[in-house]
């Protein structure tokens, strides 16, 4: 049997072509790695009526069927089957950064994560939508649960060029209005943007009663700042270039960066959003686990 787990590694995936295939391999790899899925029984694959057995939660009993047939059936996952999951993928220029330590740039990583999650959701027969954006919304694909939808989404991601600056705040306002149906919004970005406006956008989403999952993709070099020699840093997204001695600046830079991460995480926590920091040198299962754990907790909450 093929060892699917290796496909959780971005380095291995980078050698493959076709986002769809990659997505499938990721999910297979992840699922095969679990001896027993902790989420079994709550997945959408059992989205059908099931006869009541003692001990089942009475809240899920389908009383309409009972009225018709005088039998107890559980109406499981009615909500989930109508659940729409929107992925907001940042395609700004800053997502193109790739350090020597990582195999893929942030955008590729974000695409892999998005595709994998899309595959997972579609496999559970939920609807998936996608929005790519930089300074504005570039592509917007409405949510659909058709299995072939994956192909379309992958295509959109493949063809979305990385350009422009990130301005998440206005985009979130925009999308919050566009996505009418209440659902799950997964934002995949490096969030190199003005934090207050970003927070306002997130608040808007939350206001529309969307569940929000923040997947923060960063390159390891951006956190560790491992440069040694004097370096001329050329700013992406029209930022000026800077010549500096990285060794002496490392601590100061890391202080700034960690402050940014802390603020973002605190903001997400305040808004009851799930947050995951994804480094492009990490295996992809972190993203999947965060996603599924978030799903589970949400199921328990509702």
């Amino acid at each position: 049997m093929e060892n699917y787990q290796k496909y959780l590694n971005p380095e291995t995936l980078a050698q493959l072509h076709g986002l769809e295939l990659q997505a499938r391999l990721i999910v297979e790899g992840y699922v095969s790695g679990l001896h027993k899925s902790p989420y079994h029984g709550f997945s959408i694959e059992f989205a059908e009526h099931r006869e009541y057995v003692p001990g089942d939660d009475l809240r899920y009993v389908d009383w309409k069927v009972f009225g018709k047939t005088d039998r107890y059936y559980l109406k499981q996952y009615e909500e989930e089957t109508n659940y729409a999951c929107y992925f907001l993928l940042d395609c700004s220029e800053s997502m193109l950064y790739k350090s020597e330590a990582s195999a893929v740039n942030k955008l590729q990583y974000a695409q892999l994560v998005t595709a994998a999650l899309t595959y997972l959701v579609l496999k559970q027969q939920d609807a998936v939508g996608l929005a790519t954006f930089d300074t504005g919304v570039r592509n917007f694909v409405r949510a659909s649960s058709h299995p072939s939808h994956l192909k379309q989404l992958c295509h959109v991601m493949d063809v979305s060029p990385a350009q422009g600056e990130t301005s998440l705040g206005p985009i979130l306002h925009d999308l919050a209005e566009r996505i009418r149906k209440r659902g799950l919004v997964v934002i995949v970005s490096d969030f190199f943007d003005d934090l207050p406006t970003l927070m306002l956008g997130l608040k808007h989403l939350r206001h529309r009663r969307h569940e929000v999952l923040v997947l923060h993709v960063i390159d390891p070099a951006e956190q560790d700042f491992t440069f040694v020699d004097p370096t001329l840093f050329k700013g992406l997204e029209q930022l000026p270039e800077q010549m500096t001695e990285p060794r002496s600046l490392r601590k100061a830079y890391q202080r700034e960066f960690e402050a940014f991460l802390t603020q973002l995480q605190r903001g997400c926590r305040d808004l009851h959003m799930d947050y995951a920091l994804l480094r492009t040198d990490q295996p992809l299962d972190v993203a999947l686990r965060t996603f599924l754990a978030g799903r589970a907790s949400r199921l328990h909450r509702t």
Binding site: Y97, K106, T231, L232, F233, L236, T244, E256, F260
Partner: protein, 756 residues
């Protein structure tokens, strides 16, 4: 005053100084670095920009400091390679080059003082061991003993093996002599030249700095001493290690003598001991003992005031003749070596005196020697028919001058010539041999004496046995119109000493009508014991070889005066004989370091002589011929005590010699540090310590000898800077802590304040 520069550099390899150009390397690299850099795209630019904005000023300063450290590092490295020779430098730079160390250990008697736990000498050896133990690889040692006894230099060639030096130190014994400072320091100065390959010299003087040893008698010696010490101070590091005890109390027997020069079994002998208290406190109840032949015969307690000396008289009657040892012993104190003093006493049961009669006569007392003979051995009863001589200590034998040739003079203790007309050369020679071997002769003059013959055969211009040249007769014994009395002066001479305060003896009232004028040769050792009131000498004595010669300028019978009939005659003859025979028993009392010697008649050359030291060790002694005599001399008197000298066949006898300590060593007053510096070492750089320790906190070094220390320090600085540079580059703040420790303190305080 000429002032030396504080630091004067001289470089062994100045060419290497071109390497100083290397110091500009970091600057150039720094400048090049500004041009050469990596480029990278960067997404998280906003954070980088914020960090740069907040830290640009700090980073620039840090870069400058780092640059300065790197430049300094290379600068020091090049300087170190250039091997600077430091001509004169402060104490900060310690050299590590091999050192030539000369250790001088005071081995004078005063070092036998028992300090709290051990004798000073043992402590000195321990200190010397410490110095040797602390030696570094390549150090060389010389060992010198400050003593008047040989050998002064114990390790004469620089020893590189410390084990050998330590063995020598372990084997050192404390002799009982004095310290000969000048000779010792001169030898030390000579040793400085023995290791020319070790320019760095250190001289350690371990002593109690007793004033008696460290001060000189004459101003000339003081100048020489200062000169030597100054040269030693200039040659290297001069360290004085003072083990002396301030205000050390000590009591000593400073002299012991027998009051009577001739000791016989017939009368008690008086001994006189001087006890000196050198301490600052009165001593009471100290026990002093008299021991004869190692048996305690008398014991008494004495009291001596601080700084005072008392005389204790002892009396003892010897029951048998022969050699006896007398010892006065004081209850031991901290310095036990000077608490006892010995006396070797040869006791005679009988003295044989030969009277050579120059003029015969039939009437009573008609012979020239009759009065002398009578005086030497008075008859018990002058009226009786059997005139039995009193059994006294002196046994006179009278011969006529013609028999002189056939007699063996060495059988007699003393020979008295009475009005002998003339002597042949042969007779004169045999008399001279006899006197030089320790015999005593007394010359009594008279009518028959041929002054010309006496001067020619006996005086020989001062080279003979007669102590003075005979001149013209003064006074006329026939007319008796002029009389001369005796003028004993201050009664200083031992011969007349007994008459002092004793006018009944009639010395000053004795009348003489004629005498021969005498002329003492210039620079003669002869002494005038008694003068006539005309100012001319009456009795002259001189030491000739080991014996003594006494000249009486007038006659010993009644022809030239009334002296033989006067009460002063008999005691005077006895005194003269006792004085003259003193040479027979020889000089038996010596100080430590002085040789024991004695002279014998010719056949003694075949005699085996050995000396037994006080510690029981016997040592054979060589005999050397001196003119017609034989002489033995033993100079191994390193300890005090009784030395037994055994003469083998045919002499077959044993003589005792007493060797005592020099009482000067008993005075323990010492030079204190200030006195040393002012009196002995004015302007001489030296170190003064009371105990020795390996120099970790060493005092300033003397100049010139200490070269090469700087290179090491420069390299240390380079190492340090290398470390600092690495740390600065890795974490500037931590590097700064090392470079400037106050920053660390400041940071810690800040942290604590924050924590609070």
């Amino acid at each position: 005053m000429h002032r030396l520069p504080i630091i004067a550099f001289n470089f062994a390899t100045p060419a290497l100084l071109w390497g100083l150009a290397l110091a500009s390397a970091p600057i150039i690299i720094h400048l090049l670095n500004r041009r050469k850099f990596r480029e990278t795209q960067w997404a998280a630019m906003r954070f980088l920009l914020a960090a740069v904005r907040k830290n640009s000023r700090r980073m620039r300063i840090e870069q400058l400091i780092l640059l300065a450290v790197r430049t300094l590092l290379l600068l020091l490295f090049v300087l170190a390679l250039a091997q600077p020779l430091v001509e004169q430098l402060s104490a900060f730079f310690q050299p590590a080059r091999p050192t030539h160390r000369i250790i001088v250990i005071d081995a004078s008697l005063s070092m036998g003082y028992q300090a709290r736990d051990a004798a000073l000498f043992d402590r000195a050896r321990e200190t010397a061991r410490g110095i040797v133990d602390a030696a570094r690889q390549g150090d060389a040692f010389n060992l010198v003993r400050l003593s008047n006894l040989p050998p002064a230099v114990i390790v004469p060639t620089p020893a590189y093996q410390t084990a050998k030096v330590i063995e020598e130190i372990e084997q050192m014994q404390l002799p009982h002599g004095r310290g000969n400072l000048l000779a010792c320091l001169e030898k030390t100065e000579g040793l400085l030249k023995t290791a020319p390959d070790l320019p760095q010299k250190e001289i350690y003087v371990i002593s109690d700095f007793q004033r008696a040893t460290w001060t000189t008698d004459s101003p000339d010696d003081a100048t020489r001493l200062k000169g030597i010490l100054r040269r030693l101070g200039e040659a290297g590091r001069l360290v004085l290690i003072d083990l002396g005890q301030p205000e050390a109390a000590n009591m000593a027997v400073t002299s012991l003598e027998n009051v009577d020069s001739l000791v016989t079994t017939t009368r008690p002998t008086r001994f006189r001991a001087a006890l000196h208290n050198y301490g600052l406190e009165r001593v009471t109840g100290r026990v002093v003992e008299l021991r004869v032949d190692e048996k305690l015969v008398e014991q008494r307690a004495v009291e001596v005031n601080a700084g005072a000396e008392i005389i204790e008289d002892f009396s003892y009657s010897f029951t048998s003749g022969g050699e006896h040892r007398v010892e006065v012993r004081l209850q031991a104190d901290r310095l036990p070596l000077d608490d006892q003093r010995w006396l070797a006493v040869p006791v005679r049961e009988r003295l044989r005196v030969l009277c050579v009669n120059g003029r015969g006569g039939s009437s009573a007392a008609g012979r020239a020697s009759d009065f002398i003979e009578l005086a030497l051995s008075p008859f018990t009863d002058s009226n009786g028919p059997a005139r039995v001589p009193l059994r006294g200590q002196i046994e006179p034998v009278v011969v006529n001058e013609g028999e002189l040739q056939s007699l063996d003079l060495s059988q007699y203790d003393c020979v008295i010539f009475c009005d002998v007309r003339l002597f042949t050369d042969r007779e004169a020679r045999s008399i001279e041999t006899y006197v030089r071997a320790g015999g005593g002769v007394v010359w009594c003059l008279g009518d028959q004496v041929s002054a010309e013959n006496y001067n020619q055969t006996l005086f020989r211009d001062g080279a003979g046995v007669l102590p003075a040249r005979l001149g013209d007769r003064r006074g006329d014994p026939e007319k008796r119109d002029e009389s001369f009395g005796f003028d004993p002066g201050e009664f200083l001479h031992p011969i007349v000493n007994a008459f002092q305060g004793n006018p009944a003896a009639g010395l000053e009232t004795t009348q003489t009508y004629a005498y021969l004028q005498t002329v003492l040769p210039a620079r003669s050792r002869a002494k005038v014991a008694l003068r006539f009131d005309s100012g001319d000498p009456a009795i002259i004595e001189a030491q000739v070889g080991a014996g003594r010669s006494v000249l009486i300028a007038t006659s010993a019978d009644e022809r030239w005066g009334l002296w033989p009939l006067w009460p002063s005659f008999l005691p005077m003859v006895h005194e003269i004989v006792q004085f003259a025979v003193a040479g027979r028993t020889g000089e038996r009392q010596q100080l430590v370091g002085e040789p024991l010697s004695a002279v014998f008649a010719a056949p003694a050359i075949d005699v085996d002589v050995s000396v037994m030291r006080p510690d029981g060790q016997a040592e054979p002694v060589r005999i050397t011929p001196v003119d017609a005599l034989s002489q033995f001399s033993f100079d191994g008197t390193v300890t005090s005590g009784i030395y037994e000298v055994h003469f083998g066949h045919p002499l077959s006898r044993t003589e005792l010699y007493a060797v005592n300590c020099d009482p000067k060593e008993s005075n323990l007053v010492k030079l204190v540090e200030e006195e040393l510096a002012q009196e002995l070492l004015p302007g001489v750089e030296h170190e003064y310590e009371t105990s020795w320790q390996e120099r970790s906190d060493a005092a300033p070094l003397t100049p010139a000898a200490h070269r090469g220390g700087l290179t090491r320090w420069l390299l240390y600085a380079v190492l340090y800077l290398l470390f600092v540079e690495q740390l600065l580059a890795w974490d500037f703040r931590k590097g700064l802590w090392l470079l400037c420790p106050p920053v660390l303190v400041f940071d810690l305080m800040t942290r604590m304040r924050r924590a609070a």
